[in-house]
Assembly symmetry: C2
Homo-oligomer: 451 residues x 2
């Protein structure tokens, strides 16, 4: 389909370029021109579906670089608990009863919620099953995603099979919407030999199914809490010297296609190594606060020139998929804890949620900004709301005042997936009903201890 | 008007009572019965406007205990700046050009935004002018409020006059919607003699215009930043010994009708005194982070049994009036900085935004919970949204997943002020247009240096 968005304010996220009375022309999946409305509307007339963005602001779709999408079924199931109790008494016991269908329904609910709040790409880590999975859910909703399979030392055989199947069936599939990743859970649950093996598996899968333009990345939790070195020692009898990144680097697993999630408890040496190896970061401030993990040294990493992107984390530890909340939390938190109100200015934070997110997923050749030849992943935000009046600057409002609910229309891969708040790809009422039923069945299996 | 809300889940905030399939009967301004729908619908038939709350959750309207409502005209005008530069180069210069009409329009915009996000009472501190003012804006929108006039040592004469006029014209007026307060700006801008005088003025106004049931409270900023003792010394050559509360107590100004805003930089002695004097607190986490003031020791105050309520602060330092954001920020922040995920559980935080807010304003006899004989100040929240599915617990969703935009219908003082997201009291489009024009005129006067 061809589309002409016109009369809007375009926040391109390409070198801070903003176009008022702007227009974007889209052909098939791709942005073919960006400019002033009066110029573009002469060129793109008949055959272009027109979207009037008067009083609205167009941004590149937001990029959420850390999710466990299927876990929406557990939203609000367990809050306000100490971490070990939360995991051992609540999350892990119920997850044992999760079926492939649960994973599909949970991921579909997250896909719907993500689109509705202006997110067009989600990087998700969960258990892959060939029957039903997060990849199918995202493809059905037409949400762009990187789908990972999470790997643990205790299930190597299962993981190897899952990774092969995932890469073969889903990498660069669904019109290029879906890519896959190799996801070692964390340095304390994946032994060093298995880490190295997963690195080799990643390389092998990349050779078979990937390309320089569509790489298969690594997606892993690192340094979420300060007791991770202790956990590594306990699990593998390894004593870290200068932090976790040095340890991972000694295994030869760090490079520019690694996205390290959380990065809360880092040493200066860790940051040096990340910079040197071009490791990317997903910062999840809401989850880090809710689980009381601490505050990531984001300003320090940014100063070093490290790519830091933003993620919501799972609906269990946030509890929404709304990236606008994460954007605002990021802008606020680092000012407050560092006692410096000039840190993390609005423009910088919006970059983290868009173009830096694309870089973190090694996908900046196609997404993250509104530029000619990039894929048309766009969110149109209705600014005709009391909380977005009066106007002093669009970027300030996007970061400090806008909410997911202000998103009106979303385009992914050139397709209108939400128009005037109505999804075009899935029936939202049915998804909500399915989520409620699936959750009830899951709780029933837990209570009766049926797998 | 008589109203019967039925088929909803009622979160009463009265001792944690939740009623499923619940109903609320309202006559004139007052809640006359709360119970099960099947019982109430037999009793309240003809003559009662029915509101179907199926799939929805009814809560007491949220209470925002700190605003400068008129400042919405400066939303996004100056962000990400060091505090002194922000105040001296941006905020104070433009405020000099503010007219009474600007104050009215700004407050009206905040009133609209507040109602739309489920807030039914706002405690606001600004410059009172007899011609046009925040009280009139709130009364016009039918928003309950405590309207203060902010007092500074440098304008005592003007303040005295303003306070008299404000109390006479507005205390317990507009059908009991509006109350007034005496607002010393802060301990570093109000000298000790003037503090004492303002205490006497407060008592005198209370005798003339107030009552035990409708007291005239004190509303003041205290201990917003750690350098406040230094500022007090600089301004008045007073050396504090054990903190600001001891100083204020030595002036004889602290009692149960004082609401102290921010309370970030407190000594243990301060907290002792607050407990002893029954001083109330307004906690403004978003503003404290944005202005890099620090983090208030809220868990410590709560442990002492001090009443801690929640506020947004001004649209300049937040930048929205959405109390749902403040609720979530409160639940998250203290877990994170204290490294304890069990702190500030959801139910407790929701109390701070409702019944504790009412106590903080000395208004708990009429508002803050859904109880027979209290005023009908209610927010009905539509839970049929993807981000509020599936259901494990309403209170968790209200705190961690709901947003202001989920509020569908709002009742204040028994009047439906918003129905299915449409305001009944003011024309929202006109208010937005007026805010934009008023802001443009204000910027024009600033540029041309016209008062």
């Amino acid at each position: 389909m061809n589309i002409l968005i016109q009369n809007g304010t375009i926040i391109t996220m390409q070198n801070g370029r903003v176009i008022r009375q702007g227009a974007i022309a889209v052909e098939d999946k791709t942005i073919i021109e960006v400019g002033k409305t009066h110029e573009l509307k002469r060129k793109y007339g008949r055959g272009y579906e027109k979207i009037d963005a008067k009083g609205k602001v167009v941004i590149p779709g937001l990029i959420n670089t850390h999710q466990h999408a299927a876990m929406s079924l557990l939203r609000g199931y367990a809050d306000d608990l100490p971490l070990q109790e939360w995991l051992e008494k609540w999350i892990w016991p119920i997850e044992k009863h999760t079926t492939p269908h649960d994973i599909y329904v949970g991921a579909l609910l997250t896909a719907v919620e993500s689109i509705m709040s202006g997110t067009t790409t989600v990087n998700t880590m969960y258990h892959y099953t060939p029957e039903e999975n997060e990849a199918k859910a995202f493809a059905d909703a037409c949400l762009r995603g990187v789908i990972g399979h999470v790997c643990f030392s205790w299930r190597k055989k299962e993981d190897r099979k899952a990774l092969q199947d995932l890469a073969k069936k889903w990498h660069n599939k669904a019109d290029g919407l879906i890519r896959v990743s190799v996801d070692p859970h964390a340095p304390y649950t994946v032994d060093p030999e298995y880490m190295k093996e997963l690195r080799e598996i990643g390389k092998e899968l990349a050779r078979k199914h990937g390309s320089e333009k569509a790489p298969i990345i690594w997606h892993t939790h690192v340094a979420e809490t300060s007791d991770e070195p202790r956990k590594i020692q306990k699990a593998f009898n390894i004593q870290l010297k200068n932090g976790i990144m040095e340890y991972l680097d000694s295994l030869g697993v760090l490079d520019r296609h690694v996205i390290a999630v959380h990065c809360v408890a880092l040493t200066n040496k860790d940051i040096e190594i990340m910079k040197h190896r071009k490791v990317k970061v997903s910062h999840n401030p809401i989850s880090n606060l809710k689980l009381a993990s601490g505050v990531s040294p984001v300003p320090k990493m940014l100063k070093k020139g490290i790519t830091v992107s933003l993620g919501t984390d799972s609906p269990c530890s946030n509890n929404t998929a709304d990236m606008f909340e994460v954007i605002k939390a990021t802008a606020l938190l680092h000012k407050g804890v560092n006692k410096n109100p000039a840190l993390m200015p609005a423009q910088r934070v919006l970059e983290m949620a868009t173009i830096e997110g694309a870089k973190a997923l090694s996908w900046e050749n196609e997404i993250g900004s509104i530029e000619v030849n990039k894929k048309a992943d766009l969110a149109i935000i209705d600014f005709r709301k009391p909380h977005l009046y009066p106007m002093h600057g669009e970027v300030s409002h996007l970061v400090y005042a806008a909410r997911g609910a202000d998103v009106e229309t979303v385009i992914i891969n050139g397709k209108i997936v939400m128009e005037n708040k109505e999804l075009t790809t899935v029936n939202v009422d049915k998804v909500m009903k399915a989520a409620e039923e699936t959750k009830n069945n899951l709780l029933e299996r837990l209570t009766r201890n049926i797998k």
